[in-house]
Subunit: 253 residues, 8 copies
Amino acid sequence: MEQDQLLKVLQDVANAALTPADAIQKFGNESFEELDYAKIDTTRTRRTGYPEVIYGAGKTAEQIIGIVTAMKERQKSILATRVDSKKAAAILKTLPFLDYDATSETLIARAKKVEEVGNIAIVTAGTSDMKVAEEAAVTAEIFGNHVTRIYDVGVAGIHRLFAKLEIIRQANVVIVIAGMEGALTSVVGGLVDHPVIAVPTSIGYGSNLGGMTPLLTMLNSCSSGISVVNIDNGFGAAYNASMINRLISEAHE
Amino acid sequence: MEQDQLLKVLQDVANAALTPADAIQKFGNESFEELDYAKIDTTRTRRTGYPEVIYGAGKTAEQIIGIVTAMKERQKSILATRVDSKKAAAILKTLPFLDYDATSETLIARAKKVEEVGNIAIVTAGTSDMKVAEEAAVTAEIFGNHVTRIYDVGVAGIHRLFAKLEIIRQANVVIVIAGMEGALTSVVGGLVDHPVIAVPTSIGYGSNLGGMTPLLTMLNSCSSGISVVNIDNGFGAAYNASMINRLISEAHE
Amino acid sequence: MEQDQLLKVLQDVANAALTPADAIQKFGNESFEELDYAKIDTTRTRRTGYPEVIYGAGKTAEQIIGIVTAMKERQKSILATRVDSKKAAAILKTLPFLDYDATSETLIARAKKVEEVGNIAIVTAGTSDMKVAEEAAVTAEIFGNHVTRIYDVGVAGIHRLFAKLEIIRQANVVIVIAGMEGALTSVVGGLVDHPVIAVPTSIGYGSNLGGMTPLLTMLNSCSSGISVVNIDNGFGAAYNASMINRLISEAHE
Amino acid sequence: MEQDQLLKVLQDVANAALTPADAIQKFGNESFEELDYAKIDTTRTRRTGYPEVIYGAGKTAEQIIGIVTAMKERQKSILATRVDSKKAAAILKTLPFLDYDATSETLIARAKKVEEVGNIAIVTAGTSDMKVAEEAAVTAEIFGNHVTRIYDVGVAGIHRLFAKLEIIRQANVVIVIAGMEGALTSVVGGLVDHPVIAVPTSIGYGSNLGGMTPLLTMLNSCSSGISVVNIDNGFGAAYNASMINRLISEAHE
Amino acid sequence: MEQDQLLKVLQDVANAALTPADAIQKFGNESFEELDYAKIDTTRTRRTGYPEVIYGAGKTAEQIIGIVTAMKERQKSILATRVDSKKAAAILKTLPFLDYDATSETLIARAKKVEEVGNIAIVTAGTSDMKVAEEAAVTAEIFGNHVTRIYDVGVAGIHRLFAKLEIIRQANVVIVIAGMEGALTSVVGGLVDHPVIAVPTSIGYGSNLGGMTPLLTMLNSCSSGISVVNIDNGFGAAYNASMINRLISEAHE
Amino acid sequence: MEQDQLLKVLQDVANAALTPADAIQKFGNESFEELDYAKIDTTRTRRTGYPEVIYGAGKTAEQIIGIVTAMKERQKSILATRVDSKKAAAILKTLPFLDYDATSETLIARAKKVEEVGNIAIVTAGTSDMKVAEEAAVTAEIFGNHVTRIYDVGVAGIHRLFAKLEIIRQANVVIVIAGMEGALTSVVGGLVDHPVIAVPTSIGYGSNLGGMTPLLTMLNSCSSGISVVNIDNGFGAAYNASMINRLISEAHE
Amino acid sequence: MEQDQLLKVLQDVANAALTPADAIQKFGNESFEELDYAKIDTTRTRRTGYPEVIYGAGKTAEQIIGIVTAMKERQKSILATRVDSKKAAAILKTLPFLDYDATSETLIARAKKVEEVGNIAIVTAGTSDMKVAEEAAVTAEIFGNHVTRIYDVGVAGIHRLFAKLEIIRQANVVIVIAGMEGALTSVVGGLVDHPVIAVPTSIGYGSNLGGMTPLLTMLNSCSSGISVVNIDNGFGAAYNASMINRLISEAHE
Amino acid sequence: MEQDQLLKVLQDVANAALTPADAIQKFGNESFEELDYAKIDTTRTRRTGYPEVIYGAGKTAEQIIGIVTAMKERQKSILATRVDSKKAAAILKTLPFLDYDATSETLIARAKKVEEVGNIAIVTAGTSDMKVAEEAAVTAEIFGNHVTRIYDVGVAGIHRLFAKLEIIRQANVVIVIAGMEGALTSVVGGLVDHPVIAVPTSIGYGSNLGGMTPLLTMLNSCSSGISVVNIDNGFGAAYNASMINRLISEAHE
């Protein structure tokens, strides 16, 4: 669907290098691979800058094995998120080259040398937010970003945050992860001059409503420079942060 | 319904100072005054420590005039909240001894000398929270509390809060009033060692949901020592704060 | 971050007792202790009047053991809430000096002599609210408050409440704990002249919505003098009540 | 659609008093009258015991005039609810035999002698609930019930309720009307042994959510014997209460 | 707290049959029995017409055993609702005189002869609503009502309802129980001239929202004569229906 | 973006009837017309079967005039929905060839001869649903469908519906429009063997929640064959019904 | 309740072929079969065009066996949805002629020759939506429709959808199934000229709210021609699509 | 509160250039200016990179005049958002140097030469989203960014988007603004390799819920690289986009 790709096909047709009938086939079939249960998006790197990542939550171990196997032929790094330990064990039997990280619940195959560029700070309010934070950290690292972790600096003891403020301010992008009432985001947002990506977590109880409360807090922040992703979406925050960090880092080069 | 009152009646009956038939009348009728549309609670001061306050929102000017007139005979200070300027003008024609405060939308008759005791700090996140803050301030003052106002110190510019921290920490009770995402409450809660009463305001838009967002933020605060009242309920916060401040102040005497 | 602490450092610098470079280190590092997964707030007692309490819900047994061990060196009393019986058993193997209370799901190490001052009344609507009530009671007691328990006096049989009214009215602060529709709070609020802290519980079904119904009931109470904490937050209510009770008790001295 | 009606038609057909073709016409057309915009249910009295009442909220003055005119030929008493004063003025010009009650916003034509039977108690928490209460009272009276009004006895001053308890307990049915948090319902429900019909009102602000809070309170009441109608639905409560009161009163005869 | 009880005490005091000091004791202590975890309301029958029923959901087997044992001395019939089969088994070991009904999850001890009066129709939309329906039926029967069950007559096949209409119309009160969208209630409400008590059930999925959808449907019904109880509250519906049925039946005598 | 269109362009390029550079221009620019504030979709008829309809709610009179003027050159029939009477008056001054229908709030220019095919039944529960019903009717008619209106046959008087059942069953598609609790949809759905498209309306009050209640009712219907559109979306229902009616009617030819 | 059936009975009565007393019996009892727990709707095929389908979710294995056995005598094809694998195993022991499909969780008995007519396209956004999609596919097939499956073409890689667009456009009806944010529906709706039935799924997390987010997305679609069924309701979508597809296919004959 | 500022003060104190007592004053008072109703954050540029912007919605004309006047002395560019036309007229009388933009409802004073760097694309789904889009555009421009506007390219006519895709892909950051169901965001997110900031708007009706539907859509997007701001928050999106665009642009220099 990309214009340059289209132009190329059109030119081939114009040059008789391609018949119209063949051309039309190309548009559909070349850019993904069909499994019974999935269509693997093989041109995503070219289109959005990153390879497809496997969201493991709604898939069986068999389906993940199938998708990883198909992907493996085209891309060096593989990342599957939301793979619980039981499912991971089943997958590792068939695909022993994968690494499983139990905290972040991710399965990874890493291209040998990923040079980490720039700096993404990952800041959490509490110890319980660590699972989401590590999903973000692992994702950012496999995408080639340097990551700085600053955990458990919530506003109930705000001096802990201030002690780490200089480190946070040195990052190109800051990911703030918080459950409960999520107030940490607004405080960080008021103190740094780089983009803040906020991740509400489902940590809390009662009127926390499964993370809806910190989500609403973050969306309504009185501080500017904050944008928000879905509850517990560590991967999504890292994806965003990675885009920004890489654009800045590449521009520096 | 109070035990000592009951005991007294029983003793009077035992002493033949009262017939059972008369006694039973007492229980019902003595402690309020009946208007057509309202039953004024004349024993509230004895029972809860404060006179009845008129909540003006659902009442006509005529009803408020009637209630004030009936109250006037029994209590020196009168407070009516949520009286909009139009309704106030109509009331003031009949009851010129009342004062109207347009910011807080309160009507007041003040007993001549109210000695203000203790100290209640009223802290707001933004300029727009002032209406609720003044409802709290006026209420607290008429109930005999000394009030310190610290307005517009929201966390987007957190140094404004820190500059006022010592003043805030000197209060017996702190009322924190905030709309938007209400994060100020958690920050203050982590920094003071006195009770914090949080008032969410309906200031905000979109997913603020008419104040539900700061309400949820405050209820889920990671800081301890915070309790919450209804959205925009400046009066309620002041009532609570006043109870606490007076108990401490009286104990000091 | 406290002004007096800051002033002291500045004076030391002025007196050449401290170099600026050393001074700046102090601000960050001295007031908490870093574990891998947590930053223990070691100055909280000085800042807010109470030691840090461990919220056990989102933490592993290993993390709680680590935090208790680190805390143990600095403070005599330790309290961990929301520790289920399985997690507690694992912790007690390593830390046998702790006591576990199964009803309130708390782990406690008590300083030898805590003199209990003042009086906090804890009132529940039903038998099922006992778990939350005991979390409040245990917390209040470890913080040095005298506690009076009045359980199962909901408004379906309101005479049970009236029979206990004198006892309730003698407390400095009243904690009212109720699930279902939470109406007990408004009734108590109309009958006592001391602060009422309301705790909605998740006891109920259907349109109770996990405690949202009593939460809303309590926030909208027609009685004054009531403030509210999060659903099932017995600890939070006790923390607030303790602050108020101690301020009154200390003022009396 | 009623079985006995159906049997009668079938018998007429069997007796040749009716042809099948004529019979089938009867089923559809006889029991309502068609206007352009409405189908007036002329058999409702026979079917449910009460004539059709006009719900004025979604209708124009012209439509209400048309419906009243059509009804007038068949039934003596007419009741239109939710008619605001402006719409009422327009209707009264054309239909001067109607009476308008501004508090309850009802238009009424009363059959000359309606003997009032039994007793329905209408109890409100506050002065502001009066509009809903009067809609209920007017409806109950036009349906031939004796009504006892007990207004402004909310639980903030619960002794006002106790003073009226004997009067309330003498009613066959009790309608309890309350906004704010609606706790009055549970208290009344625990003290009377007759059915209680609860009406939440939209009186309140903030987290009252337009009456959703007292609605939820009433549905979750810990007292038994309470059933609930829609927010502000004074008419519906009166309709229910009237059914019950009449069944009891008729059984007594 | 009842007026006649109060009058009697006052008269006894007046007659010197009682000292004031003794009198005051009576008010509090005589009308309930204190267990550690519960205050059994022993005067409820006198006050509301029915003995206290044990709501089993939030209580342990031990607590239920204790309460039943205490109740057993004063009342002949005992009913405990929401007792799952596991808890029931534990209770039956200690209290073998109880009967357990697995469909309705109720534990019962029945006074030998309960004459069933009047008629309550219990109508359900589907097979899956049977659990709630049986809770209602068992409750109504133990309270002495004649019950007629009409199950699985939802509006998807409305002729099933019409075939049972005459039976339904003969009842003094109709309980309609429905999950999904709850439309059955409105149809029944438009066809009968006796009170309809609606019980939404949590049967459904997706946007059914745990029964909130049929609850809202029932509250907004375009048919009159319907009042509503909480989701799955078969007991509550039966309690209401029983009150009405008994009042009618007793009046007939 | 359509395959046949793409194939045609490719063939033209292959035949040298088109240069690649020109071809690529075609893909973007030919299929809509750019105004400052809108991009008129000029190929929608070819793509989806119907011309673009103007949704008037968020647009100024000036913008609507501009869009109509641009459309007028390409299509004969024009339909603008949600145009209030004030906005309509302003538009009619400039574009007097348009007709305004005040009930449905639509502006129309009709191609001279639209032959109406098939049959769509539009059924409403009440008089107040007429506005939405007429939006549906006007839309269906301008799209060339025969429409049968059956208004005010809600389930409170279900015999009104049965009397019209044969007429409803003759339609190819049935649109059911209802506010309040929306139960009519389920009843109709159980009685007809053609598709039912349900439109919830915002008619109602209190817990109707602006139409969310009938929306949920319709989505959870126990009857099959029902699909749902947005609240008050008469246009959307008509568009769907028209698609189905035309496919059936065309297939018959 | 159908008019022609009614007319026939009336004519039989008129012809003395039937007594009124016998006639009235017919209305009720003939059109369903009574089990203890269910009333099987035996005239549904005649009334709505399809046999009754068993919704297995709220029923026990025993109840499903009973219903299937009763149905088996009257209809050749049987479909039970929402039967989990455990329940299915129990049923298959007694009814071995049934087939169980584990993906769609359906139990089926198929009439020997079902000729599949027309074409229904079932399009899913992701692999995880397959369960709902297969419930739709199995239902549509047993109802005699030809089904085309196009899975995993969500908008994150929109070229996958475009490659399948021609196939989708050839269907008489399109079912679009999507979780997460459900955007696929709007894209498909803008590109096809046949009816689109949208099924939101509960696939997602956090603010997906169990499928409420894609449900709302689909209801608010900016594309026309889309109607929506309940979350995860594959059966309902297939039922609707089948009705439309058959009407078109039959009209073609 | 910034470390370097703190270090500087400490050094001055160490150098005896400042007494501790004076030093402590500095911390609080220097970095904001106190008005009666506001504390203007004069160090925000240094701290977060942008000057303070006035959020006009909750402020009176007088308060805005006061704040602008105070700001004017320190910063060249001034931006006030959410100023309706009436309030703007009042302000312009006093401060004629401001420019008012009626579409975006912003008041602006522009520093003479703002060189616009980089490129931010602002993409809207419909004409009605223009108000929010222009708030974003005006904000981005005053912050020195080059802005490209692409309006009315919603997915109902997706070819309009594809025609503009190359332009959109050239931007450093893309702001996507959409009401209704907000599906445009996911489509854009799947096609560009730069960060996408999504702004839901309150454009829509019924189950749109004032913008909550597109907000949820955007948060749950199946495309990666999307983060979200509050409903209608054009300013917030521009602030975020500006941060990212400037970081990239500056890095390029």
